[in-house]
C-alpha cells in the first residue's frame, strides 16, 4: 500500500502576539506516515495543532521547518500538483455566494477543478440525493438553514472526487441524524471507491474517531503523543482490560489474587454487612481472567457478578494528555 501523506520533523511557528521576537510553536517535529485508502484521525484538544497541520498539508500554509509530502509531492513547492487531487471541508463554515442556488454554487466549484459541466451536474445531482438535499438544489443558499449550508459545503468537498480529503470537524454543529449520515457517507466513500481514497479527519468527538478511523494520532501542544489504531490505543494507552468481580463471603481473602500472572493492578472493598466483596482488576489481556475465576472457584467461593469495563478512547486520551478532550486546561485529572 503506498503512502498518501508523509511528514518528517514538520514544525510550524507563529509570531507570538503577546511577546515580541518570540515564537509560538503550533507544531513541533511531527513525523507521520499515512497510508492511502484509510480514514486517518487527528485527535486533540483546542489549540493542539490539528488545524495547522491540515492547513500545511492542504497547501494553505508553509511549514517553518521539516518536510511534508502529499501523494509524494512537496507542499512547499509542488502545491500545483497537490491541489488537483485534494479538497477540504471545515465544519461550521460556509462556502459560496448567497445569491446563487445550491446547485449553481456547487457547479461553480467544479469549474475551478476543470470538470465538464455535464459531468459535474450529474455528480452534483447524485450527491444532493445521497445527502437528502435534492429539493433544495434550486434554492439560493442565503435562504438555507445553517445545517443545510453545512451539508452543501460538505458536498463541495466530495464533488471534485479528490484522492485525499481533509475533513476538519465535519460534523460540528450538525444534528444527530445529519452527523450520522455524514459519518456513514464518508466511511462508504472510502470503502466503496474504485481507487484508493484517503481522508484526514480532525474531530472533537471520541466516538466519531473511534467509529470512523482506521488509525489515529493523538496531538497535544503541537506534538504527536500516540499514533495507532483506535483498538490498540485503547488497549495500550489505557492499560489493557478491566474487570469488576463480586464475591459474596466475608472471609474470602482476595490478597492471593494480586500475584496472579497478568494482573497489572488490583483493588478491593467490602460493599455491605453481608460481606459482598468487590474486586477491580486491571489485566494485561483477557487470558488472565480464567486464572482468577479458577482461583476463586478452587478456594470454594462463588462469584456473584463479573463485569467487563470497556476502555474507551477517552481513557486513552486522558492518560496521554492528562485531561479530557472536551474540557480545557483546568480539567486536569
Amino acid at each position: 500500500m503506498s503512502t498518501a501523506i508523509k511528514t518528517t520533523r514538520l514544525s510550524r511557528a507563529f509570531a507570538d502576539a503577546g511577546a515580541k521576537d518570540k515564537n509560538f510553536w503550533a507544531l513541533g517535529d511531527i513525523s507521520l506516515e499515512i497510508p492511502e485508502g484509510c480514514i486517518y484521525g487527528l485527535l486533540g484538544p483546542n489549540g493542539a495543532g490539528k488545524t495547522t497541520l491540515i492547513k500545511i498539508l492542504s497547501t494553505l500554509l508553509l511549514p517553518t521547518s521539516g518536510e511534508a509530502l502529499v501523494a509524494g509531492y512537496n507542499v512547499d513547492n509542488e502545491y500545483d500538483k497537490i491541489r488537483p487531487i485534494i479538497n477540504m471541508v471545515s465544519g461550521g463554515e460556509n462556502c459560496g455566494y448567497g445569491i446563487l442556488t445550491v446547485a449553481e454554487n456547487l457547479w461553480m466549484f467544479t469549474q475551478f477543478y476543470g470538470i465538464p459541466t455535464k459531468q459535474a451536474m450529474a455528480k452534483i445531482k447524485d450527491l444532493l440525493e445521497i445527502m437528502n438535499l435534492s429539493e433544495k438544489a434550486d434554492t439560493k443558499i442565503n435562504k438555507l438553514s445553517t445545517g443545510m449550508r453545512q451539508k452543501m459545503n460538505f458536498i463541495r468537498g466530495f464533488v471534485t472526487d479528490p484522492k485525499i480529503l481533509f475533513l476538519d470537524e465535519p460534523t460540528l454543529g450538525l444534528d444527530v441524524n445529519a452527523a450520522r449520515e455524514t459519518r456513514k457517507f464518508v466511511t462508504d466513500w472510502v470503502k466503496n471507491a474504485s481507487e484508493p481514497k484517503t481522508v484526514i479527519l480532525t474531530t472533537h468527538y471520541m466516538q466519531e474517531a473511534d467509529e470512523m478511523c482506521g488509525k489515529l494520532a493523538i496531538i497535544d501542544h503541537g506534538r504527536i503523543l500516540a499514533n495507532d489504531t483506535p483498538k490498540n490505543l485503547k488497549k495500550q494507552e489505557a492499560g489493557g482490560v478491566s474487570y469488576t468481580i463480586n464475591v459474596a463471603y466475608r472471609d474470602f481473602d482476595p490478597q492471593a489474587l494480586r500475584t496472579l500472572p497478568g494482573v497489572s493492578s488490583f483493588a478491593h472493598s467490602v460493599l455491605n454487612e453481608q460481606g459482598l466483596i468487590e474486586m477491580v482488576f486491571n489485566l494485561s489481556d483477557d487470558s488472565a481472567l480464567a486464572k482468577i475465576i479458577e482461583k476463586i472457584s478452587s478456594s470454594g467461593f462463588s462469584i456473584n457478578n463479573i463485569q467487563k469495563k470497556e476502555f474507551t478512547l477517552e481513557d486513552a486520551f486522558i492518560k496521554l494528555v492528562g485531561r479530557r478532550l472536551s474540557g480545557g486546561e483546568g480539567d486536569t485529572l
Partner: protein, 273 residues
C-alpha cells in the same frame, strides 16, 4: 500552460464571471443604486458648470467623467476589495485550494464586473446626455468604442493588481482604498479636463489608465474635446495598451508573490482583521 490547464482556467473564469452576471440580475435594486443614485453627484457637477453659464460641451465632459466613475468604483469595491469579502466569507481559502490559477478568479471577476459596468456607463451617459441636452460630435465611433473598451481593460488590470494586496491585508487595505476615491476623481480629471492640472501632475495621473482613457474619449466625442486635449488620441491609446500589459503582468507577479507570503505567514485564512 498545457491545453488542460488552459481549459481548466477558462472554466474557472466563466464560473466566477457567472456569479457576477447572475448576481446583478438577481438583485434588481442595483438599477436604482448603481444607475439612478450615481447620477446625482454627476448632475451636481453639471449644475456647477451650468450655474457659471459654461459651454454645453463642459457639461458633456462632466457627464462622461461621471459615468466613467462607475468603472473606477467597480474596480475599487467590486474588484480590489472583493478578496477582502471573499476571505471573510471563507471563499478565499477554497480558491487557494483549487487547482486553477488565482489569476483566473480575478479575470472572472473582472469580466463579470466589466460586463455590467459596460452597460452602466453607457446608460448613465445616455440619461445624463438626455437631461442636459448634450450634443455629441463623434470623430470616429470605432475609435471611441475601442478606447472605451481599452480603458475598461486597463483599469480592470490595475484592479487585479490592487486585489492581490487583499490576499495579505484586511480592513486596513479596505480603508486605504478610500484614498483612491476623491483624490483619483481629482487627479484623473473626472469632472474637468486633466490638462487643467498641468503637464507634470497630469503625467503622474496618467498612471491611472482612466485619466488617458477619459481624455481620449472626450477628444473623440465632443467638439471642444481636442481643444482641451492632454495628449494626442493615438499616443493615449498606445499608452493605455502598454499600461494594460504592465498591470496584467504586475497582477500575475504580485498574486504569486503575495500568495507565497500569505502561505508563509499564515495570513491567507486570517479573518476578522
Amino acid at each position: 500552460m498545457s491545453m488542460n490547464e488552459l481549459i481548466k482556467n477558462l472554466r474557472g473564469i466563466w464560473a466566477r464571471a457567472y456569479v457576477r452576471i447572475v448576481g446583478v440580475n438577481r438583485e434588481p435594486s442595483w438599477l436604482i443604486f448603481e444607475l439612478f443614485f450615481p447620477l446625482l453627484p454627476i448632475c451636481s457637477f453639471a449644475f456647477v458648470y451650468k450655474s457659471m453659464n459654461a459651454p454645453s460641451d463642459y457639461l458633456g465632459f462632466v457627464i462622461l467623467g461621471g459615468a466613467m466613475t462607475a468603472i473606477w468604483m467597480n474596480v475599487l469595491w467590486g474588484m480590489a476589495a472583493q478578496f477582502f469579502w471573499e476571505r471573510e466569507s471563507g471563499n478565499l481559502t477554497l480558491y487557494m485550494l483549487c487547482p486553477m490559477s488565482t489569476m483566473a478568479v480575478l479575470v472572472g471577476m473582472a469580466l463579470g464586473s466589466g460586463f455590467s459596468t459596460f452597460f452602466r456607463v453607457i446608460i448613465t451617459f445616455m440619461i445624463g446626455k438626455l437631461i442636459f441636452g448634450i450634443t455629441l460630435h463623434v470623430a470616429s465611433y470605432f475609435w471611441l468604442f475601442a478606447t472605451f473598451i481599452l480603458t475598461i481593460a486597463a483599469v480592470f488590470s490595475l484592479g487585479m493588481m490592487m486585489a492581490s494586496f487583499f490576499l495579505l491585508y484586511g480592513r486596513d487595505a479596505w480603508n486605504i482604498l478610500t484614498v483612491f476615491m476623491e483624490p483619483v476623481f481629482f487627479l484623473s480629471g473626472f469632472y474637468f479636463p486633466v490638462k487643467t492640472l498641468g503637464y507634470p501632475l497630469g503625467a503622474i495621473a496618467s498612471l491611472i489608465p482612466i485619466t488617458l482613457g477619459l481624455d481620449a474619449m472626450r477628444q473623440l466625442a465632443f467638439r471642444l474635446g481636442p481643444e482641451t486635449a492632454f495628449l494626442p488620441v493615438k499616443a493615449e491609446i498606445l499608452i493605455l495598451l502598454a499600461l494594460s500589459a504592465i498591470y496584467l503582468a504586475g497582477a500575475r507577479y504580485l498574486l504569486k508573490k503575495l500568495e507565497y507570503i500569505g502561505r508563509r505567514e499564515g495570513r491567507l485564512t486570517l479573518r476578522w482583521q
